[in-house]
Every structure is written in structure tokens, then in C-alpha cells.
Amino acid sequence: MRDFLIRHQTPALLVAGLVVVTVLGVLTGNETVQVTLTEMFIRLVVVVGLWVFIGNSGIISFGHIGFMGVGAYAAAWASAEPGFKQIMLSGLPVFLQENQYPFAFAIIGATLLPALVALLLGIALMRLAGTAASIATFAVLMIVNSVYANWDSVTAGSSSIIGIPTVVGPWVAVGFAAGAVVTAYLFQVSRLGLMLRASRDDEVAARASAVEVKRMRLVAFVLSAAIAGAGGGLYAQFLGILTIDPFYLGLTFITLAMLVVGGMSSLSGAVAGVFAVTIIVELLRIAERGVSLGALDLGLPLGSQEIGLGVLMALILIFRPNGLSNGRELVWPGAAPAAKAPAGRTLSPELTGDAAPSP
């Protein structure tokens, strides 16, 4: 048991950390704190999903917020009130229109539908080389946005879907966050994950070692879309009202910023980034609201929050390119696993080729 815990201490520590934060948050009894926490855990699910693909393959994806949107709508279709669905969403299949399914069913839908979409699109996208694939993932975001904003009989178009039961609070959200972390970790240490990271570090060498790079990327793409989709489902059942607008570039930027700030080459980094960026954004938001001293309103102008986040991201990229985690995983001090080092780069420079002369 002790060996098992030491070997898998990273996810154990991360999950324990999440639970502690939740307990503290719930103990405050403050409504705002709990809402912020819930939203943060939902974003954590999405960012961890994003990390499964980006962290392991080294390819930036701008399309995952699209998958989150697909998941959110899938959950809404399953769980919104039948009365609303029959009037506004008359294009839905009859079984969805007439029934109101429970949360569990909605989340399963929110996981499977994005995975299916990712599989179909991924077959095409994963054939492209790294940078081209990144740009092409934009196509995913835009296709989802265009379809969901205009398919009135199924998505209610530019008006919103209402009557979704709001069952997601901090505890449900943290449960899914922990689930996402464990899933991502299992993928990371699996044979598939190892092969994919090999292709990230040296694609040519990996291919020469019989790694089927495209197929590995596709597997990670589908899995990460499923996790991001689950995040979307949580989001729908957290807000209770849904439009396609939030699932676009703004959220794409924030989730990528979380990944970059934390350090996208490690799972702990993804989690740390979510915490760090949430804290910074909340602080900036408070600063924007400002304080009133008599007749004087002291506050940052509107938009400072976004600019601050952008500047922070640029600074991190310049001065600490591996993010806050510096590419390492979270380990208990003094209890590093003896046999295998975690996913960080621990090979000597000669072995990784970093010693090659640079211009």
C-alpha cells in the first residue's frame, strides 16, 4: 500500500489538495467563494483535458473549447425541461424532447458526443504536421461556433437554452476534477502516453522506434475532447442557462493561459496553473471594481483583467518557459519514487540532444 502510494503520489497529492481546498471553501460558508470554487474546478476539468492532448503531444490545440461547447449542449439536451425542449428545440430527437434525464446520463452524453466529434475531425487533423495541426484546430472551434449559433431548431440559436437543473456545486465539481486528474495521470503513465511523449520530444526518433505517431495523437485527442466535454456538461448544469457565446476565443485564451502559467509539460503544472490564474483574475477583478474613497473612485479601467492576464502569460513564456511547475510533477518532499523518475526531463543533455550547438 505504501509503495503504491509513493509510486502514484502525484495524483494522490493533487486530489488531496483539491479536497482540502474544497473543505476550506465550504467551511467559509460564503456563497461567492463557493461559486468561484465550483467554476474553478470546472475549468480545471477542461484544462486537464486540454493537457492530456497538449502536454503529451506537444501540439497546441485551440479547438477544445469547441468540444466543451459540444459537451455542454449535449448535457443541456438531456437534462433541460421537456416543456421548453418541445417548444424551442423541436429539431431534437423525440426521446430527448419528451424526457428529462438525470445528471449522470447528461454527463455521459457530454463525454461521448465530443469524443465522437473529435474522432471524426481528428482523423483528418492528426494527419497534419504539428504547427499546421494547431492552426487547423481553429477550424474545429469555428465550425462548432458557426453550427451551434445558427442551428435554431436544435440549439435555440442565438437565444439561450433555459431550464437546465443546476445540480453542480463545489463537491460535484471537485469530484469530477479529481476524476479528470486521475484519468489524465493514468493516460500519462500508460504505454500510449509514453509513446506520445516520445513523439513530442523527438518525432523522428519515435517514428523510427515504431511509434505510430498519428494514431497516438488521435487517441489523446479523443480522450482530451471527452474530458473537456465533461467539463462543458458540468458548466451547463452549473449555470442552468446556456448560449454558445462563452465557448469561443475568450475561454480558449484563459484555459491556454492556465496551462502556460502552470507549465504545460506536467500534470501538476496544469493544476497549479488553474489555481494561479484563478487567483490572479479574481484579484484583478476586485481591482477593476475598485474602492471608493469619498468622491474618489479608485479602480483599474475595464479590460485591465484581460490585459494583465495577457502580460502575465507573455512574461511567463519569456522568463519561465516551463511555467510555475518548471515541468516537474508534484512530489512529497523526500519521498521521490526510487525506481522511475516522473515525466520531467531528467536525462542528461547528451542523451536528449540538447547539447547540440545552438546559434
Binding site: 497546441i60 469555428m142 465550425i143 493561459a257 507573455a314
Partner: protein, 304 residues
């Protein structure tokens, strides 16, 4: 037949805008391996530089009121300065970073510029009346051609010819091509890296300024996210054309312009709202058949 020709002219003029944008993006990618998201926001900066900074809904022209011969260089200058600033402040410290890192950094730059513009000018779109004389129509036979589309076409051709001549005939152009071929080797042979990259940023700034003038005249409105769709379509154009090839960027730009316009014209009305989705789905299909793009570049392959 007339209808088709009319659509074709629309397609070519939209394609010209995309091609100019894609050219600016492709030029930087060739040399720096940077996919510059902020390129769309250079276009936004050029457009907003025309008006008086304020949060009012109606825009008062400032630079835009000057005679053309003063206004155009001034807007170019402003955009070039913005492009060079983004290089000096963000991209120069990242010279040795990987291509994904550069891409994310440019995403951050784009986000900063967008919100900066929003802070200065307000979030609401503004109407501007720049050069309304250009919207008159000329009759060629039975064909009604808006003057502006002809202007767009001519400007595009002039810029592309000038750029080609610059790259082929001048010493700086040859250095830029050498750097695009193999940056490290070029610097070993005495090409100054920062100069070449600065030039690339400046040229992409000029291209962006041209697009912002043409596009603002055509659309008659400003918004802080106006450059975004242009940049996104241009990105996809660069990928469709073949990454790392300037000819490819232009071919890709025109391809996207033609696809979008023809879908708009010939899709059944109830599907027309999904135009962009069809366009991007079509792009994915093209890539499925030709993963390296329509004009594959020799230098785009991974070097071992």
C-alpha cells in the same frame, strides 16, 4: 452567367483581402516559424488609428480625414511601429523558443492589443465613413462592378509585385529568402538575424495597414475584434496553401475567398447561415487529400 461572373468578382476581391493577410502571416512564418495571431490586431490598430480616440459610438475621423497621400503612409507607419514593438517586447526575447511557444505568445499579444483597443475606444462597434466615393459602381457590359473591388484588386497586385521584386532583386530581399530557407545557416553566412526579422515584421505591418484601409472602406465599421476573423481565415489559408510557401499563402487566400463567396451564393438559403462551417469543413477535406497543402514547400519538412 452574369450572376456567376458577379460572384467571381466578389470572390476575387474577398480573396485578395485574405491573400494579403495570409501573405503577411506567411512571411513571418517562413523566417521565424511564428504563426502570428496578432496580425489580425495589427489590422485593427490600423483601422482605429484613423479615428479620434474616444468611447463615443460615432467615430470622428482624425488621420482618416487627411489626404490619401498623407494618410496611407501615416497609417502604414503606425502599424509598422506596432508590429516592430511587439517584436522587440515579446518575440525577440523568445528567439530560441519553439514554434508552439511563439504561437501562444502571439496569442497573448493579440489578447493584449484587443483589450487595449477596447479600453481606449470602448467595446461597441463604430461606424466610419472612409472614402465613400469608392463604393460607386461601374458598368462593364452588363456587369456591375463596385469601384472598390477594382481598387482592392489593383492594390493587391501592386503589393504582391512589389514584394516579389523586393524579395528577388534587392540584397535585403535575398537575405530574407536565405533566412527563410535556413535561418541558422544564413546567420552563419553573415545575414543579420534581427534585421531580417525586423524587416519581415515591418513588411507584414505594411500589408496589414493596406488590409485595414481596404477592409474599413468596404465594411464601413470598426470593432476591437475586427481583425480576428480576417486573421483566422488567413491562418487557414496559409495551411491550405502549404505552410512556408508565400505562393501557397496567396493561393490559399484566394481559395478561401472563392470558397466562402461561392458558398454564400449557391448554398440553399436555409443552409446559408452555416457558410463558415461548410467552408472550414471543406478546408479539412482539402487537407485530408493534401496534408502538406496545395503548394507544398520544400523547407516545411522536418529537418533531422
Amino acid at each position: 452567367m452574369i450572376g456567376f461572373l458577379q460572384n467571381l468578382i466578389d470572390a476575387v476581391s474577398l480573396g485578395s483581402i485574405y491573400a494579403l493577410t495570409a501573405l503577411g502571416i506567411g512571411l513571418l512564418f517562413g523566417i521565424l516559424r511564428l504563426i502570428n495571431f496578432a496580425h489580425g490586431d495589427y489590422i485593427t490598430i490600423g483601422a482605429y488609428a484613423l479615428i479620434v480616440p474616444s468611447a463615443d459610438v460615432t467615430a470622428r475621423l482624425l488621420i482618416g480625414d487627411l489626404p490619401l497621400i498623407v494618410m496611407t503612409p501615416l497609417i502604414c507607419l503606425i502599424v509598422v511601429v506596432a508590429a516592430l514593438l511587439s517584436d522587440v517586447l515579446v518575440f525577440r526575447p523568445l528567439r530560441r523558443a519553439s514554434s508552439p511557444t511563439l504561437m501562444i505568445a502571439s496569442f497573448a499579444v493579440s489578447y493584449i492589443i484587443q483589450n487595449g483597443v477596447m479600453m481606449l475606444y470602448g467595446a461597441r462597434p463604430k461606424a466610419v465613413d472612409l472614402w465613400s466615393g469608392a463604393n460607386t459602381q461601374i458598368l462593364i457590359g452588363d456587369l456591375r462592378v463596385p469601384m472598390l473591388q477594382l481598387i482592392i484588386l489593383v492594390v493587391t497586385l501592386v503589393l504582391m509585385t512589389t514584394l516579389t521584386l523586393f524579395l528577388r532583386k534587392t540584397p535585403y530581399g535575398i537575405q530574407m529568402r536565405a533566412a527563410a530557407e535556413d535561418f541558422r545557416m544564413a546567420t552563419y553566412l553573415g545575414v543579420r538575424g534581427n534585421l531580417v526579422i525586423g524587416l519581415a515584421f515591418a513588411i507584414s505591418g505594411i500589408l496589414a495597414a493596406a488590409v485595414s484601409l481596404l477592409y474599413t472602406t468596404q465594411s464601413g465599421s470598426l470593432s476591437h475584434t475586427m481583425g480576428l476573423p480576417l486573421a483566422l481565415f488567413a491562418f487557414v489559408a496559409v495551411v491550405v496553401g502549404g505552410m512556408g510557401s508565400l505562393v501557397g499563402a496567396v493561393v490559399g487566400g484566394f481559395t478561401i475567398g472563392i470558397i466562402v463567396t461561392m458558398l454564400q451564393a449557391y448554398l440553399p438559403p436555409e443552409l446559408r447561415a452555416f457558410r463558415d462551417a461548410f467552408a472550414f469543413a471543406f478546408v479539412i477535406l482539402v487537407l485530408l487529400v493534401r496534408p502538406a497543402g496545395l503548394v507544398p514547400s520544400r523547407t516545411s519538412f522536418e529537418r533531422v
